[in-house]
């Protein structure tokens, strides 16, 4: 169990390809950190640097209070779960799990105790005598995790451990990882490209893109106050809608104008904008699909659009709507709120109006793509 500190960590490959730029992060003891981002963003590289599988080009990495830049992976006291499980195909599950302990010349009884205990936790006791090829994907994943937990490592690294599983199994394993974390209370670093996993598992989320950290924060923070356009778009599904708008500075307050409607901003937001010294300018207004609602009574301050696609998701509808200038937005409308009659009106080509509360609005600078409200 240990804290981790990455200071100015950088990874440069041959030919000057920079995979990770100036990575700074402190990870507290027993924290569950998730690195998330699209493929090629440097999240796996960072994890592999922590594991010692890649050299650190620059900066320092500290585990506990030891600088481990030049320490071999085997001496870092870490365990790692790989995306493709990396189970040793030629030995049994039992020996797979015991492998690291045997290399440490651990007493046979102790090995047995730990392996059985880990197998118990993961519910794979009955498979101990099998070879990995005779296991299903989910079982292999459990063995891979089991192999890591018998070590009782200081830091637990997981590199996209669920991405090879089918959707149903993935949800199940996700829940199990949450439970597992409760049982073995240690530091976790988890890499994924799936924002749902990131949101559900992480104490804090590190969102990365092109080798840069975009934002670090709790799931709630990154969801409610995204730092920039990328984070706003990456977290949440379906993606946040981005609309062109104009920010107008009045006397001591701000208003956003778009598609003929005016949204006066709350005092809190105005204060933030004023503090930044933002004047009247073009902005991008972000609003999440789930924060929109349909307006049926031709109320003021509603935006009109043409319905293109109506996806029935069961408990809600996903409406793809084209606005006057061709921008496409998605609305998430709970079916419970709709009468039969109104639902029938939501057919291809029909016009409809929608609105959103001021509270959920995000504003971004179109040039820097940074949030104006952060």
């Amino acid at each position: 169990m240990a804290s981790l500190k990455l200071e100015h960590v950088k990874k440069v490959y041959d030919k000057n390809v920079v995979a990770v730029h100036d990575f700074n992060l402190e990870i507290a003891d027993k924290e569950f950190i998730v690195f998330v981002g699209p493929s090629g963003c440097g999240k796996s590289t960072t994890l592999r640097m922590i594991a010692g599988l890649e050299d650190i080009s620059d900066g320092t990495l500290t585990i506990g209070d030891r600088v481990v830049n030049d320490v071999e992976p085997k001496d870092r006291d870490i365990a790692m779960v790989f995306q493709n499980y990396a189970l040793y195909p030629h030995i049994t599950v039992y020996e797979n799990m015991a492998f690291s302990l045997r290399l440490r010349k651990m007493d046979n009884e102790e090995v047995h105790r730990r392996v059985c205990q880990a197998a118990e936790i993961l519910g794979i006791t009955q498979y101990l005598a099998r070879k990995p090829k005779n296991l299903s994907g989910g079982q292999r994943q459990r063995v891979a995790i089991g192999r890591a937990i018998v070590r009782e490592p200081q830091v637990f690294l997981m590199d996209e451990p669920l991405s090879n599983l089918d959707a149903k199994l993935r949800n199940q394993m996700r829940a199990e990882i949450i439970l597992l974390r409760k049982r073995i209370d240690t530091t976790f670093i988890y890499v994924t490209h799936d924002q749902t996993e990131a949101m559900t598992l992480g104490d804090r989320i590190v969102i990365m893109k092109d080798g840069y950290i975009q934002q670090v924060g709790t799931p709630q923070e990154v969801f409610e106050t995204p730092k920039n356009l990328f984070v706003a778009g990456f977290i949440g599904s379906p993606q946040m809608n981005f609309l062109k708008a104009k920010l107008v500075r009045g006397a001591g307050d701000y208003t956003v104008e778009l598609y003929g409607i005016r949204v006066p901003l709350s005092a809190e937001k105005c204060a933030k904008l004023a503090a930044k010294g933002v004047g009247s300018q073009d902005v991008i207004l972000g609003v999440r699909p789930e924060h929109t609602h349909l307006a049926f009574d031709d109320a003021d301050n509603t935006i009109e659009g043409v319905l293109r696609v109506n996806e029935m998701m069961g408990s809600e509808l996903h409406l793809h709507v084209d606005l006057a200038d061709g921008t496409s937005v998605i609305l998430r409308i709970p079916t419970l709120d709709l009468t039969e009659e109104r639902r029938a009106g939501l057919a291809y080509g029909n016009r409809l109006r929608f609105a959103f509360p001021e509270k959920v609005v995000q504003l971004f600078d179109p040039k820097s793509e940074e949030s104006l409200l952060f």
């Binding site: 594991a51 085997k74 990396a86 030629h90 005598a129 070590r151």
Partner: protein, 457 residues
């Protein structure tokens, strides 16, 4: 409804005739079947003809090896079947006049040995039980004891050969051992094969099949090694047979080369495939360029280097081992290609689990690379049997240092060809038999190796 066509099944109902005319799929199917049969017939014909062409020279070889060089001509004749089948050529190889007289008695002794082996191996098989997982050392111990007992018995029986005249003994021993080894080999093969009827009849007998190839190889290797030792230390001092000497030379070279070359090739290919270090690309490119120089270019220099070390002429055996192994690191392509297919995450995982790179090599990669290890051993073992060029150059006319290829080549090309041709045939048959058996037994691994090598370049 004069004529109705049912499109799906293409049946035409002819009302006038009152019958159903079938067309379409059904007939097509039938004609397709006929076509298929004709094609297959043609293929079988071609394959049969090819098989005949492929086998005929070998059949001829064997037939001519039975034509006595004393009774008939030993060179070229205009008939295929010997007038009388005789073993003169073989007897000549072993330089003994009473060869078959000894054989008769020795066979009895050999059979007794073999019977004992069968009993012992079966007993060992019975002790191998899958249920009892932890007892491997015990099992190995029992097997070892069985083998030791078998050999003790053998020694005892050879002692019983005292009845033979002293001059007869060597060949008697040889025949005993050959028999013993042959039957031992068959038993080992049967015993290692999981679904053999004989062994399944023994209650509780099961072998894990993942070790099959390795065990086969180990068994054969042991047999060959034993044969080499026996030839070297028992038979050659006792006979004056040149052929046996050459045979032993080749066998010794092949055994050493197989071990050393495999170690070198695997080391190099592992390093180039799994480890990343400065100069790796340079090494690979250098090997590529060096490989474009014809191998014989360097012959005189090599000869001189070996001569300085005293490893030419009568010392050709260690000299040749050195030549075959020294540069063998350059032949890393195929095994590197195989290593490349083993996922890298296994190495990484093992390293995080606490293994050094050496441990990764021994504990993870080697067990997974078994097919290619066997392939490498097989190739390294087979190559020295066919090498004429270096072998003849290094031996430089000294018969002590010949291998079989040089010796037999000289019989047909420089010596009295008309007298030695059938003896060449006999010698060739005795070389080809064990090599072919080995190759066919390990064919699977050979195929795996060449296919992998060709695909990856």
């Amino acid at each position: 409804m004069a004529e109705r066509k049912i499109p799906e099944v293409d049946i035409i109902v002819d009302e006038k005739a009152g019958v159903i005319k079938e067309v379409g799929p059904q007939r097509k199917l039938r004609s397709k079947k006929g076509h298929e049969r004709r094609t297959n017939g043609a293929i079988y014909t071609v394959l049969t003809v090819m098989s005949i062409v492929w086998l005929v020279p070998f059949v001829f070889l064997v037939l001519q090896s039975f034509r006595s060089y004393k009774l008939e001509k030993g060179g070229m004749v205009d008939y295929l079947l010997p007038k009388t089948f005789s073993l003169d050529n073989y007897a000549f190889l072993f330089e003994g006049s009473n060869f078959f007289h000894w054989c008769g008695r020795a066979i009895l002794v050999g059979l007794a040995c073999a019977a004992a082996t069968v009993a012992l191996v079966c007993l060992a098989g019975k002790l191998f039980d899958r249920q009892d997982r932890g007892a491997r050392p015990a099992r190995v111990g029992i097997l070892g004891a069985c083998l030791a007992a078998g050999y003790a018995l053998l020694v005892a029986l050879t002692a019983a050969l005292q009845g033979f005249a002293p001059a007869e003994r060597p060949v008697a021993v040889l025949v005993c051992l050959m028999l013993f080894l042959a039957i031992g080999a068959i038993i080992a093969r049967v015993y290692l094969k999981q679904d053999s009827k004989l062994l399944r009849s023994i209650p509780g007998y099961v072998v894990e099949d993942r070790h099959e190839g390795a065990k086969k190889l180990a068994a054969m290797f042991a047999e060959f090694a034993l044969l080499a030792i026996i030839l070297q230390y028992i038979l050659i001092p006792m006979t004056k047979s040149q052929y046996l000497l050459w045979y032993t030379n080749t066998l010794t070279i092949a055994l050493f080369t197989a071990v050393l070359q495999t170690a070198i090739v695997l080391s190099v290919s592992y390093a180039l495939s799994r480890l990343r270090f400065r100069g790796r690309k340079l090494i690979m490119n250098a090997v590529l360029v060096l490989g474009l120089f014809p191998g014989f270019l360097t012959m005189i220099t090599l000869y001189f280097l070996l001569k300085q070390m005293g490893l030419t002429q009568s010392g050709a055996v260690p000299g040749l081992i050195l030549i075959y192994c020294a540069s063998s690191g350059m032949g890393y392509y195929i095994s590197k290609g195989f290593f490349d297919t083993i996922p890298k995450s296994l190495d990484e995982s093992a390293r995080i689990d606490g293994a050094t790179r050496f441990q990764v090599f021994m504990k993870i990669i080697m067990p997974l690379a078994k097919p290619i290890v066997i392939y490498t051993i097989l190739m390294a073992f087979m190559a020295p049997w066919g090498d004429y060029v270096f072998a003849s150059y290094v031996a430089f006319g000294d018969q002590q240092g010949y291998n079989v290829a040089v010796g037999l080549y000289n019989w047909v090309n420089t010596n009295d060809f008309q007298n030695y041709f059938t003896r060449f045939c006999a010698g060739g048959v005795l070389v080809a038999l064990p090599i072919t058996a080995l190759f066919l037994a390990l064919q699977k691994y050979y195929v795996e190796g060449v296919t992998g090598g060709a695909v990856k370049g």
